[in-house]
Amino acid sequence: MRLLANLALQNLGRRKARSFLLIAAVAIGSGVVFTGATLMRSIDDSMAVGFTRLGADMMVVPEGALTNITAALLTVEPTDLVLDADVLARASIASLGRIAPQKIVRVGHSGIGGHHDLVDLIGIDPARDFTIQPWLKEKLNRELRAGDVILGAGRDVPLGSQLLIFGKPHLVYGKLGRTGVGTHERGVFMSFATLEALTGSMPQHGDVRPAALSPGKVTGFLVELAPGATALQARFAILSAVKGAKVVTGDSSLSGIRQGLAALLQGILALMILMFASMAVMVSVLFSAIVTERRGELGLLKAIGARRAQLVGMMVIEAVIATGVGGVLGVALGVLVMRLYERSLVYYLDNIGVPFIWLDLPQTVAYAAAAIVLASAIGALGALYPAWRASRRDAYELVRGES
């Protein structure tokens, strides 16, 4: 009924300071919840992308190779030490899943980038690779073939254009998305055959030629664990089967960050639940007081024929308007805060190796709507009980104002 809704609205206007405080509190609460949920989901998604797309569980390299374990990816520093390309396949180790061999050669004067830049030429086996190609952000509409290169996000050469490497023309087949990992950002990727074909063009220092360029040799393997297998099992199996190899697990650093983020997310979740709980309690306490204060008015309305449902409805509408407005403001506040801190957040997460990706718009809108609906629901629930209790009492008792 319009008059009762009007009455509810005007009651809010009658106590401006109190209404303002209520709205502000709900705005803060739902703002935190909305922002928390959105960030949590974004980070969660980003992590999933970071870890599953790049998702090697361990790396097998020659003993003595220098390794560089970044947060999100294991990379092997270019080295002259090599392993046989089929050494792991031959050993057929049950605890291993996919195995991606890589050849890495670091060269200068290649014609790519500045004159003195060192460039990592990285050979992959397209059929077995699972850490590079999933990162392709754009690519030509065909299979990778000889003479094609894939560039890291840090290299600014358009798709399909020609790239000279040691004077030999190559075609830019694809470009990777941002991974936050140096080798990936700056690397030039190609098939083993394409890399090996460069051997003749490279300037030679004496007779030495990078060992990784030899057919049948690789710099190392990125390895995925078989489902259910542990890193420890795999490590022992590899070490006993392959002589002269070293196994690098990212476990400590990877799980450290995962756990850190998981703890952070759980903290946010706990905060959110707490926030909502305290919001509900606050609204309910506040509305108990409001109902008590407005007893006379409720009694009067009852006396002139308002039904209980109408009285309860009026109080609930009042609460829902206040908390709903609070919810809307909270979401607006959250959007503002996320905009303001977007850059530093993205930068920070990038630094720890999580390439940050915002939740997509439809989901963000859904979260915003959920936050507003939840805030309104808290208002409705908070007002419902005190209003229902008051509405049960005799009109005369309410009017007289005695308990």
Binding site: L3, L301, G305, Q310, A395, V399
Partner: protein, 222 residues
């Protein structure tokens, strides 16, 4: 039209049970003007509230036009109060955030009998009859206490009640205003035929009633 049978009310308080009304039998015929008199604290307001459907009796029955009030469901009782009973309180009882016209129209809107435009037209007519035609859009705080009481009477009349209950409606007003308000109530009783039950301290006024009910200590005084 009104029949009370052994109606009683006791309150549970810290000092034990207080009996405000102790078994009253009362009949008022349709169209009559009845005055209830008695000392302060004798139970007049409690009796009126039980007659008006505002306070559930501890015992006994209240029957209005054949309807046993306190056997109705909560919603039915609300509807009954809304349609059959007009109540003028002892104190200012307008909703401060609503305009006078809204205050008067409210019971009609709650009852959904006339529709919004019909309700507002009736409300405007009633306010005009109360001499407040120029204040339809005013708020209660902008008019005097006597005028507020007239608005409350207009509100009580909006649904054409069969029974008009007024509990010391003028106790906080000056004599001049009091007699004006009383004239309004008596005119309605006489001209429209609305049954009027009035609680008053004013014995001169009570003498005008066709029936005087004297209460002391929650019981009738013969």
């Amino acid at each position: 039209m009104l029949a009370c049978r052994q109606v009683s009310k006791s309150y549970r308080t810290e000092r034990g049970i207080v009996t405000a009304v102790a078994g009253i039998d009362l009949d008022v015929a349709a169209g009559r003007f009845a005055a209830i008199i008695g000392r302060s604290g004798s139970g007049k307001s409690t009796l009126m509230a039980m007659i008006g459907g505002l306070s559930r009796p501890s015992g006994g029955t209240v029957t209005i036009d054949g309807t046993d009030l306190w056997r109705l469901s909560d919603n039915a009782l609300s509807e009954f109060r809304n349609g059959k009973i007009g109540y003028v309180f002892q104190f200012a009882s307008l909703l401060p955030t609503l305009r006078l016209i809204d205050n008067v129209a409210l019971p009609a809107m709650l009852g959904r009998r006339h529709g919004a435009s019909g309700s507002y037209a009736r409300a405007a007519g009633l306010l005009e009859r109360m001499g407040l035609g120029g204040y339809l859009d005013a708020y209660p705080s902008e008019i005097s206490a006597g005028e507020q009481r007239r608005v409350a009477i207009a509100r009580a009349l909006i649904n054409d009640p069969a029974l008009l209950l007024a509990d010391e409606p003028t106790s906080d007003l000056d004599e001049q205003t009091e007699s004006e308000i009383m004239d309004v109530l008596l005119t309605i009783n006489r001209e429209v035929g609305t049954t009027l039950i009035l609680v008053t301290h004013n014995l001169a006024l009570a003498e005008k009633a066709q029936q005087v009910v004297h209460i002391a200590n929650g019981a009738l005084v013969a």
